[in-house]
Symmetry: C2
Subunit: 306 residues, 2 copies
DNA sequence: TGTTGCACATTCAAAGCATAAAATGCAACA
DNA sequence: TGTTGCATTTTATGCTTTGAATGTGCAACA
């Protein structure tokens, strides 16, 4: 009798746990007084899901004491209000993403062959068929693997080419300054303020204490917020795409934290110019900013070697 | 007894028929003398498949008299050499692509709701599960639909927004002139020659006789060839992506054929400059070219209304 | 020596059932 | 009146079997 038959059917993707993490995030951001009623439908609307998973998520949170349940009255905020979901052991990331990064690492380190069959991948990473399809679809669209005409997949050389990281910046140098000059460009006050707050938090110590992931995310968010403000979805889209691939290439370049100080100051400068509607100057500053990042990358090139 | 049980299992995607079409293309391009031996392994290598589907494809072609089979000797070119696969009833496009375009049309015309379940799509377009997954994956990556957190999918407004077409051009105006200025830019002689030949064929009558699809393809190929010559895969990738969406938006704008004459002349001008290594000027010409295309689009705006 | 032709191995898609997760309707309650 | 709590319906995925399409090794042949 094979092992598979003894196991229960694998659980399908469950949004309630991710939802719980997002609810924690939401409660932390809103800073509601203790004992505030949190209506189920309200949350359901906010996260574009139905009440069922919201209920499950709230039940999970009530077990952890983050909300309090009263029969026939619903859920209420408690005195415990963690700053981040991670503090109470909740992950915002779904399981598939972690496999995605494992595949990327295995490929970068050469543990994974240039040509693989789907069965091999399913066994290696313990995936169901649709999970694998989702993953491969994503990877294929990001351009670092493609299905062969018959069976199997080939990984492209994008990830293993040394100049790939610089090439992502060169595309960004074409896109991002142009985005700021789009006629429809309009940066919302709120988004700008939030960007500025984040940058300032980083300047005042965050750079030293934050995790590499957080540092990367913050950079991405700044640049993608500006691209989104262009109100041209194709700009944002192109940037998002290149950033996802860059993430796979960039993690080794984050060892040197000094350069983040000048980066952050440049970000703030660009924000200032945009808020005063000096988009031409902001665009030029953005071009300079990206150029200087590339220049710094070249300096630390020895670090980038595997 | 339901209908389903009476039907045989649906055939899976079969590369041999598409392969046959590509072989016809290849034979037409090579212009081999009648009676030339066409080794199976040779074709298999060229198209990165095994000998099995190549054999099937050749058998198909031999039934149509395009190649001649001799026992224990293999296949040989015959006197019949059609110019295009379409002339002998072979399609280069797979079945899924046609469904893809049907979905896009149905969405554009409003026949398809903004929110749909997968079951509905499977029934409407008669798709298997993995076919639907493939399609939705593709559509999602192109950004005009996304899966809702729970069940179902929502179509984004990209396709139905009137300014979307212009926005695709605005991204191209950022990307394409920059691509010509990449330090690694190098346009192969052969690719350039082929581009030029195509453009000249269009000038000398092709514009009037070619199908709308062919006209669109030719434009895409010209621009993507130049982007590829930048040797920066991210430029090519970004352009390809925006072009795929543009195809869905553009077909109504192809009613007016007059403007293709100036477009073609501009293409040739850009090629000339690039061949003389005057990339700066070529880049400026490309920017002008794209600007003028947008301007012409605005002129024929009434045509674009649904 | 290189290619064909064929048999056999491998790989993956299709179909259908069972079932978990999410959406929804409705009575009970505050 | 609006919300909760629960039951029911809808939706999509996991698992398995089956078989077709593709890949590959080897003897026969030119």
């Amino acid at each position: 009798m094979t092992r598979k038959h003894d196991l229960p059917a694998r659980r399908r993707s469950d949004i309630s746990s991710v939802l719980a993490a997002r609810i924690v995030q939401y409660l932390a951001a809103e800073k509601l007084p203790v004992g505030t009623h949190v209506p189920t439908q309200n949350l359901a609307d906010r996260f574009a899901v139905s009440r069922s998973p919201v209920n499950e998520a709230l039940e999970l949170l009530s077990k952890k004491g983050l909300v309090i349940h009263r029969q026939n009255k619903g859920y209420f905020t408690s005195a415990i209000a963690p700053e981040t979901p991670e503090h109470v052991g909740l992950a915002l990331e779904d399981t598939l993403s972690s496999v995605y990064f494992r595949i990327a690492e295995d490929r970068l380190s050469g543990r994974l062959d240039g040509q693989v069959s789907e069965n091999l991948l399913r066994q290696t990473y313990d995936l169901t068929r649709s999970q694998l399809n989702q993953l491969l679809g994503r990877i294929a669209q990001e351009g670092w693997a493609e299905r062969r005409p018959g069976y199997g997949w080939t990984f492209s050389t994008i990830l293993t080419t040394p100049e790939a990281l610089e090439q992502t910046y060169r595309l960004r140098m074409a896109i991002e300054p142009a985005a700021l000059l789009e006629p429809t460009f309009q940066l919302g006050r709120e988004a700008a303020a939030q960007c500025r707050a984040t940058e300032q938090w980083f300047l005042s110590g965050g750079i030293e204490t934050a995790s590499a992931d957080t540092l990367y995310e913050r950079g991405v968010r700044f640049h993608e917020t500006l691209a989104a403000a262009s109100r041209n979805p194709f700009f944002l889209d192109a940037l998002r795409r290149v950033n996802r691939v860059r993430r796979l290439l960039a993690y080794r370049s984050m060892l040197d934290r000094q350069r983040y100080y000048s980066q952050t100051r440049e970000h703030l400068h660009i924000l200032d110019l945009l808020l005063r509607d000096r988009n031409e100057e902001a665009s030029a500053a953005m071009a300079r900013h990206l150029r200087s990042v590339v220049k710094n990358l070249k300096k630390i090139k020895p670090l980038l070697k595997v």
